[in-house]
């Protein structure tokens, strides 16, 4: 059950990343999680999101000088991190 919700969280992060990195999104996210959090993508938890977003901001800033794109991407990730996960009764 836990691994399923972790995978769902990864999918949500990936969906946002897809808008910016397209076909490279999955590889990019996997690298960020493996290299900076020392975890596998399906082990990503909500607690990891804050530090992951910091790393993503650093990495994406290396790819573009357009701070508008970086800010927009990070805002979307922060919204995901701050959103309350709905619980099933």
């Amino acid at each position: 059950m836990n691994s399923q919700s972790n995978a769902m969280l990864y999918d949500k992060v990936l969906k946002i990343t897809n808008v910016y990195l397209g076909p490279a999104a999955d590889r990019f996210m996997s690298r960020q999680i493996q290299n900076h959090l020392n975890k596998e993508p399906n082990e990503l938890t909500e607690k990891d999101l804050v530090s992951l977003i910091v790393w993503i901001k650093v990495s994406v800033s290396l790819l573009t000088e357009d701070s508008g794109i970086v800010d927009e991407y990070i805002t979307k990730l922060n919204e995901l991190a701050n959103a309350k996960t709905p619980t099933k009764s």
Binding site: V19, L21, G22, P23, A24, A25, R27, F28, L62, L63
Partner: protein, 319 residues
């Protein structure tokens, strides 16, 4: 500390890899410059421009230098694309990028190799004029093989990318591409046929030293096929770069696609020029050379865009 050592080792390894990929260019360029200095000078050119042997060699080198710069850029873009393709080898689109890279590789190797063979054959033709028709025919066919292989291979890769993204040609785009091909094809036939003896299709009394029917079926038709493949490849790449998801990925892909448009346009222009203005086997400082230099600029811009695009795409995979 350990991580920084690992990083520096990786950087060193990738630098070596660039050097490894660029090595054939340096070998071919050195051999070419050696041939310019070793092979006998062309008496016709020396007489026409009132040159001594050394002056002839300097002139030959200077005339060829811009084209040698294009070879360098072609090899450099092949090396950069190869490194990007290696980086994404586990991804679904890697096969298509590898195929595109292979097409650029054919161009990178083909352009200087044809020039190497051409300078050697022309040199033989200088000492034995009877060999001139053989040299002209051989160089014409060799020059055809390169774009035929390169463009059809690049097209296979771009088609794979477009197919994967489920992209199809719109009716307006199809009409646009067909119109370009018709204009290029008809103008090409018009300029080439003017030099052929069309009253006797079997006569080889023309600057290509081939009967008209052989010229049409084995030179003109394959060239038109190659150019059509090149145009489709360029279009599919533009289509993919327009519709693929990912703002940052799309920016890099746009550079790559414009680069492919540039090398296809430049390549078609150069092949067009070299068939429409028949080869003489020696250098001529005339308006054709000015056109050739203009086309080199287009090719240079194309290869530069491919290099920048490949660097940006690889950076996405590095961070």
């Amino acid at each position: 500390m350990a991580k920084s050592n690992k990083n520096s080792l990786e950087v060193k390894k990738s630098d070596q890899s660039m050097l490894y990929l660029m090595r054939p260019f340096f070998v071919i360029a050195i051999v070419y410059v050696l041939l310019i200095n070793v092979l006998p000078a062309n008496e016709i050119v020396m007489e026409r421009y009132n040159l001594g042997h050394d002056q002839y060699r300097v002139l030959f080198f200077l005339v060829q230098l811009p084209y040698m710069i294009i070879w360098f850029m072609a090899f450099y873009s092949f090396a950069k694309l190869q490194r990007y393709s290696n980086k994404i080898q586990k991804s679904p689109e890697s096969e298509d990028f590898r195929t595109i890279t292979k097409g650029i590789k054919y161009l990178a190797f083909g352009m200087p190799l044809v020039s190497l063979i051409a300078i050697s054959l022309n040199s033989i033709a200088v000492s034995s004029p009877g060999f001139n028709p053989t040299a002209v025919i051989a160089i014409n066919y060799l020059s055809l093989i390169v774009p035929l292989l390169a463009y059809t291979t690049i097209r296979k890769g771009t088609h794979g990318l477009a197919d994967r993204a489920k992209l199809n040609f719109g009716i307006i785009d199809t009409r646009f591409i067909m119109s370009i091909l018709v204009v290029i094809g008809v103008a090409y036939c018009y300029f080439t046929f003017r030099k052929l003896n069309l009253e006797s299709l079997g006569s080889a009394d023309n600057p290509y030293y081939l009967p008209a029917w052989i010229m049409i079926t084995t030179i003109i038709m394959p060239y038109l096929f190659a150019w059509f493949s090149g145009l489709l490849a360029a279009y599919e790449m533009v289509l993919y770069s327009r519709h693929v998801q990912g703002v940052l990925y799309r920016q890099s892909m746009r550079l790559l696609s414009l680069g492919i448009v540039g090398i296809v346009a430049g390549g078609v222009g150069l092949q067009y020029l070299r068939t429409v203005v028949p080869r003489t086997g020696h250098i001529s400082i005339n308006d054709t050379l000015v056109w050739a230099y203009f086309i080199y600029v287009v090719l240079g811009i194309g290869f530069s865009l491919i290099i920048i695009g490949a660097i940006k795409l690889k950076r996405i995979e590095d961070v």
